[in-house]
């Protein structure tokens, strides 16, 4: 268990972490989510006693980090991928870590085996790929077989196979009853791994909730219907008390509607349907909405959509990313009235907010540099 109480870190007049209080509990994977620069790494460094908090404190199983004589046996951490002497072999790197905490030498071989680095154990990490570096970092986190594991952006730079491996590992560790605390700036990544979510923005706590609750609260579900007779269907649905709205490419979108009921209504009125599909706004969009107010930098992305990070995947059930170019968000997900909308790329005029019937905003495509955007 990791407990943070009013944790605050100031650098000069800049507040990196602002009064964070939350508890990371054992038995689940807790996702620590926030845009770049939100204060995740600073928080994690304070958990490890590397940075001294300006105010407040952190306790590991009730103790301050500095009180732990053999901290690696209580908490293992993967901080940024680097943190390894490029000229010291993977084996010796782990050995010196192990020795300082009285961990037997055979454990070094075990963790190297566990992360699949036993073949390069005697090689110097200078020549390691990013993924191998991450694996070495994870090996050192696992050295003391700790009850708490903390990973800072563990999937950064990993190939899809590596990502899958880490995900499985984290879930496995949590199932063993350990506390697993993992940071990411990718909601889609968290959606597949974490059961509990802590979201921060500009150092402040924005959400501390279970993943399922977060999904329920933050994703707008609607049904997309396509028909050659939109006017008739519109009338039918409106008389039934549903609220259809014009969607992209002539489709109708029914907010909060039940696909089965809409299908039955259409059948009863003998209206041909070309499409009837329940849609869910991606968690990425929910996350963007949540953190939009608190993102540090406001950047424009004139170059259009960036390629999604290597290996990044969209949560199952979420709309797929558009193949290219800035487009309307797939699934016709409109920001709810009054909600902050991401400005369109290319400096186009955004539709006036608070107009739910308007065309869907030309929001940025998935993977765009949304995390560096601030709405004022």
């Amino acid at each position: 268990m990791i407990e943070l109480r009013d944790l605050t870190k100031r650098y000069g007049d800049k507040t990196a972490v602002d009064g964070l209080s939350f508890t990371v509990r054992p038995g689940t994977v807790t996702g620590f989510l926030g845009p770049n620069g939100a204060g995740k790494s600073t928080t994690m460094r304070m958990v490890l006693g590397l940075d001294a908090p300006t105010r407040g404190d952190v306790r590991i199983e009730g103790k301050h980090y500095g009180e732990l004589k053999e901290p690696l046996n209580s908490i293992g951490a993967l901080l940024e991928a680097k943190g390894v002497h490029g000229g010291r072999s993977a084996y010796n790197h782990l050995l010196c870590m192990a020795q300082s905490n009285g961990i037997p030498e055979r454990r070094v071989g075990e963790v190297l085996e566990m992360v699949g680095l036993h073949d390069v154990a005697r090689k110097r990490p200078k020549g390691f790929s990013l993924g191998m570096g991450q694996r070495l970092g994870i090996a050192s986190a696992l050295l003391g077989d700790p009850r708490i594991l903390m990973f800072d952006e563990p999937v950064n730079g990993l190939d899809p196979e590596g990502i899958h491996w880490i995900r499985t590992l984290m879930q496995h560790l949590a199932r063993e009853g350990r506390t697993v605390f993992v940071s990411s700036h990718l909601m889609s990544e968290m959606a597949q791994t974490a059961e509990h979510l802590i979201v921060i923005g500009q150092g402040k706590l924005l959400a501390d909730t279970s993943m399922s609750q977060f999904i329920a609260e933050n994703s707008r579900t609607h049904v997309r219907v396509r028909t050659p007779e939109p006017q008739r269907l519109l009338d039918v649905l409106t008389t039934e008390g549903l609220r259809p709205a014009a969607g992209a490419q002539g489709a109708l979108e029914v907010d909060g509607g039940d696909a089965a009921r809409i299908g039955e209504l259409a059948a009863a009125h003998r209206i041909v349907l070309h499409e009837l599909s329940p849609q869910r706004a991606s968690l990425e969009e929910a996350f963007m909405r949540l953190t939009a107010q608190s993102v540090e930098y406001h950047g424009h992305a004139p170059g259009g959509v960036q390629a999604p990070p290597e290996g990044a995947q969209v949560a199952p059930g979420a709309p797929q990313p558009p193949p290219e170019g800035p487009q309307a968000p797939p699934g016709g997900t409109q920001a709810p009235p009054g909600a902050p909308q991401a400005p369109p790329p290319g400096g186009q005029q955004a539709p006036p907010p608070g107009d739910p019937q308007g065309p869907p905003p030309e929001g940025p495509g998935w993977g765009e540099d949304w995390q560096r955007r601030r709405r004022r």
């Binding site: 006693g49 943190g83 870590m97 020795q99 300082s100």
Partner: protein
């Protein structure tokens, strides 16, 4: 096994598992002995050309340590790299996460590096002495002559202290670039100039290396210092202690 013993073991693993250790220490030994031998050989062949004053105050022991002025730079490099590698690689976060007791961490590093540089320093000074005296021939001295053993042991201590001084300073500066840029020119040029130019000599002779080298001299007139050989080494030891304490304060206070 006590906590300190474990951290010592870990620090020893760190030191022995990187190539820079063997390279810097080997360079210190080879350069000090080699350059010392060369200077002794040249001195022996040109001894009769020297002035009467120079011949009268000739310090055979000190001459055989002449290579240390360059060899000490490799010792400094060792001291800098032992610490700065932690910072430049980010290893320091792993190290302090494993050993959050920062004082224990620093002093164990010093306790591992210290004996190592002392052994290497003693090997260097004894080898440099015997090889140098052999090359000086009739102008050389014996290890049993008055003050000579002290000077040779002192040479080893000097090499160890200069490396530990670098350790302390690097804990303050944290960057290899900064540490090299300050320490190398300082000990290669600046302090020698400050210690020998008349205008600055009064203060300059109390600089760590200027004071420390006194212990290696057997003929006091050659250096002309207001303190004796052991006092000189003590001044240097005080500098080293101050550097290490400064390093400790910085390590303790600052975020890793």
């Amino acid at each position: 096994m006590s906590h300190t013993t474990r951290v010592l073991k870990s620090e020893w693993t760190k030191v022995r598992s990187v190539h820079s250790t063997i390279w810097t220490l080997a360079a210190a030994v080879v350069v000090s002995i080699g350059l010392g031998a060369l200077i002794c050989a040249v001195t022996a062949s040109t001894f009769d050309d020297m002035s009467t004053v120079s011949r009268r105050t000739f310090d055979a022991t000190y001459t055989s340590f002449a290579g240390m002025s360059l060899g000490q730079l490799a010792m400094i490099a060792f001291g800098v790299l032992v610490v700065s590698a932690e910072y430049s690689t980010g290893m320091i976060r792993n190290s302090l996460a494993a050993v959050p007791q920062r004082g224990t961490f620093l002093w164990c590093k010093v306790l591992v590096a210290g004996p190592l540089v002392l052994v290497v320093g003693l090997i260097t000074s004894f080898c440099a002495f015997f090889l140098g005296q052999a090359l000086l021939g009739e102008h050389g001295v014996g290890i049993g002559d008055p003050g000579v053993l002290r000077a040779v042991v002192g040479g080893g201590l000097y090499m160890a202290l200069i490396a530990l001084f670098a350790v302390g300073i690097t804990f303050v500066l944290r960057s290899p670039l900064l540490a090299f840029a300050i320490l190398m020119p300082f000990f290669f040029l600046v302090s020698n100039i400050l210690g020998s130019v008349e205008a600055t000599k009064k203060v300059g002779q109390y600089l760590p290396d200027q004071a420390g080298t006194t212990v290696m001299s057997v003929v006091p007139e050659a250096l002309d210092r207001p303190y004796g050989p052991w006092e000189g080494l003590l001044i240097m030891a005080a500098w080293t202690a101050a550097a290490l304490i400064a390093g400790f304060v910085v390590l303790k206070k600052r975020d890793a």
